[in-house]
């Protein structure tokens, strides 16, 4: 009987426990949202490839990629969906142990970065970005989430390669 109750309780609370994960999945299938998702499967496959290099900088970059879990970038020009994303983002930030890393304003864009402490100094386990503002006269909202064992020094390079907005500013975090 006791085990049953525990199971039942666990089952009931499962959705709440699951809240901790930023859940932006619903936006991926929306018509007005452009999504870029790279999954853990991809990074696992990439780590299969032997990319031995003498160059230390390249090696550090490879190490970063091999330790990533997933990358998600969602972009929308729709104001309503943008507002919803904003709300979801803030709810997530409040509900989880995530710290503000930096924020800045550039031209008509407001950018916020959040991160979760990682395995060691200079590493984070999650990097979140919210960007809102105007781009070429159109309203734009961008949410980016990167999970894994992330070396902050390397991640700006990756963000740059993926043409993620805010990549330049990421370079300044040390």
């Amino acid at each position: 009987m006791k085990t049953k109750t525990v199971f039942l309780l666990a089952f009931c609370f499962y959705p709440i426990l699951n809240w901790g994960q930023a859940n932006f999945t619903k936006y991926e299938s929306m018509k007005e949202v452009s999504a870029m998702v790279i999954t853990q499967n991809m990074f696992k496959l990439l780590s299969e490839i032997d990319l031995d290099t003498q160059d230390q900088e390249t090696q550090a970059y490879i190490d970063l990629i091999e330790n990533l879990n997933d990358i998600k970038v969602l972009t929308t020009n729709n104001v309503e969906i943008g507002t919803e994303m904003n709300t979801d983002f803030n709810t997530y930030v409040e509900s989880s142990q995530i710290e503000e890393l930096m924020r800045f304003k550039e031209k008509s864009m407001q950018v916020k970065f959040y991160s979760k402490p990682g395995s060691q100094e200079g590493f984070v386990s999650e990097l979140l970005m919210l960007m809102t503002g105007q781009e070429e006269g159109e309203p734009i909202t961008v949410v980016m989430s990167i999970q894994g064992d992330i070396d902050l020094k390397q991640v700006s390079k990756l963000a740059n390669d993926l043409k993620v907005p805010g990549a330049k500013q990421l370079k300044n975090i040390k």
Binding site: E32, A35, M36, V37, L45, E48
Partner: protein, 185 residues
């Protein structure tokens, strides 16, 4: 009690098995549509552009042989088939959303985008699927079929190709592409 349990188990298994059989697969989709009007289907056996070479190390030989063929199905839009295009894209999206298709990456939105997924295990891939759709042009599904393909080994091959250790037999491949161009125009 035990009997009831056994019946349940039996029913459960029965449902599982029958649902497995009805599961839509890309293979079925290809077979069902390859002769339909509006579809373009191309099969390229790997042997066509990867020539076998006795001088190769057996690991490389194995890597080459793990790739069987590339199969492409395309549905170009011609101005009158938009409604059908939308239905088919929805069906394909549903097929590819199944868990067994391990998503590697996707980019874009519902009107224009692409996704890459694979079937099999990390070190032994059976199929790589590319699906791209564009609300103005149409959609294309490309499948790289093989048996226990290993990305690491295949990438090593690519490296050797670049070094010129292995020759890629592209002549036939180009000819096929040319004849495809002719069909389209």
């Amino acid at each position: 009690m035990k009997v009831v349990f056994q019946i349940f188990l039996f029913l459960f298994l029965g449902v599982q098995l029958s649902s497995c059989n009805q599961e839509p697969t890309l293979q079925k989709y290809f077979v069902n549509h390859q002769n339909d009007e509006g579809y373009v289907m191309v099969d390229l056996p790997a042997s066509m552009f990867l020539s076998f070479n006795d001088e190769l190390a057996s690991a490389d030989q194995e890597a080459i042989e793990s790739v069987k063929k590339v199969s492409v199905l395309a549905y170009p839009l011609n101005g009158t088939n938009t409604a059908n295009y939308e239905t088919e894209v929805a069906i394909l999206n549903k097929i590819l959303s199944q868990e067994k298709y391990k998503l590697l990456m996707k980019i874009g939105n519902t009107t224009k985008g692409m996704r890459i997924a694979y079937l099999g295990e990390e070190k032994a891939i059976d199929e790589v699927v590319f699906f791209g759709n564009d609300g103005e042009k149409g959609f294309i599904v490309a499948r790289v079929l093989g048996k226990k393909m290993n990305v690491g080994e295949l990438m090593k091959l690519v490296g050797k190709l670049e070094n010129g250790d292995i020759k890629l037999n592209l002549k036939q491949f180009e000819e096929t592409l040319e004849s495809l161009d002719e069909i389209e125009s």
